[in-house]
């Protein structure tokens, strides 16, 4: 059995970032929404919507959002940068 990593996600470009937010932790402070408004927004009073597969071209905004979150609820994987 050769050593393999999972195949890249089809659909969104293979180099798309992968984002997940721990919505138990999220307190809807919305800092991520200011940092990356195209990928994070608050729906209703406090439900966070996020884009789980932002384009790699937006990595700087996504990284700013990740750092801005006061409860560190945002996880990001950058397939182009993560060590194999």
């Amino acid at each position: 059995m050769p050593e393999t990593t999972p195949e890249p996600a089809p659909g969104p470009t293979a180099s798309a970032l992968r984002v997940s937010v721990d919505l138990n932790r999220c307190q809807a402070y919305a800092q991520c929404c200011y940092a990356a408004p195209r990928h994070f927004r608050i729906e209703g009073r406090e439900a966070l919507y996020y884009d789980p597969a932002p384009s790699a071209a937006d990595r700087d905004a996504i990284e700013q959002a990740r750092i801005a979150c006061p409860v560190q609820a945002i996880h990001v994987e950058d397939p182009e940068r993560s060590a194999p």
């Binding site: 798309a16 138990n24 009073r45």
Partner: protein, 431 residues
Amino acid sequence: MTDAASSAHAVVVGASLAGLRGAEALRRAGFAGRLTIVGAEPHPPYDRPPLSKHVLTGEVPAEATRLPGLLALDAEWRLGCAASGLDRASRTLRLADGTELSYDRLLVATGTRARPWPNPHEGRLGGVHTIRDRDDAASLRAALAARPRRVLIIGGGFIGCEVASACRSLDLPVTLVEPSPTPLARVLGTHLGSVVGALHESRGVDLRSGAEVEWLEDDGAGRVARAHLAGGGSVEADIVVVALGAVRNTDWLAGSGLSADPGGLDCDKRGYALDEAGRPDTRIAAAGDVARFPHPLYDGRRVALEHWGHAVEQAEHAGRLLAGHEAAAPYAALPTFWSTQGGINIKSVGLTQGADGLAIVQGSPAEGRFLALYGREGRCIAAVSVDCARWLPAYAAMIEARAPFPPIRQGTDQPGHLPVLPPGFPEKPRR
């Protein structure tokens, strides 16, 4: 068992949230041996919560839900290949493709599957859906995008309510049938359930509480046409979503001697799997939706949770355990959950099961934002917030401390205890 020995082989069965985070925890705890991850689905680990929310509305493609990896795993992946059997004496795992894998450590993270409609013929009719996997969500999304005349949802639990909400966001006619007096009655009780039910009705959901679907009729061409309700009446619908809860994926453990049934694989308080005689197998741990374990906060009552946060935390615990780091204290993470539906954010901490009283401690249902505290035998056991999440951590701390219930009213001009209401749990659990 601190053989971070590079010759040991750890196998993770189930390549989803708990499997991925458990594998990462094994590595983070220093496990340097061979690591294999076996998954029944062809997809690498992805996130399920969006499947019943923004995937259905079309805002997120189903295949965009892939989970971020948090570290380089150096693992072998066997995807699209289910484990079909376990022989503990020889420490071998049988796979559906006929091959075998031997293991020194095994993490069971096979989760759950959607409970099917009880009549298999009706369940296979065109237009009848369940939702658990990415492919289920993609197929339901395609069906909704084709603008059906009416969607019927059977079951008013969290997933049924979220699907109803997505349908209304798409402006599709939707009927929700739930045998209890309100949606979410089994988890939240009818007091809060009626608040959520009223919200969905205000958004145009045709809510049929206290009703039950008896059988599904086809259109003569193999597609569903209508649902017949117990006691007469029917609902015309070209799409039916069966949302009757989940069954644990433990069938593959039959004959292994482990204590497992459709309610979960039993673990001891450390996290090791138990055999039928109640003895731990210290080579095997379980995590996530599949695991049934004694929760210290609830007097050691055995629980199996279906919560995203629990899958992450228990997997991290199990990964460390299998790497040889037995924790000093049993796994006791406070259960946490969220759901978004109808534009509101519902969050909970603790387990409401068995609550004998409820107090509204922040806000009010009339304002549409409030926090309800649940108590049992004079102690706080759970809190549920509706658009009131910022208050939740304070109540989580009270639940962890088993603070007295009802709490003393604080900082108001009306000292004393808050009024205690009946939570309204239905007499017998839903099917």
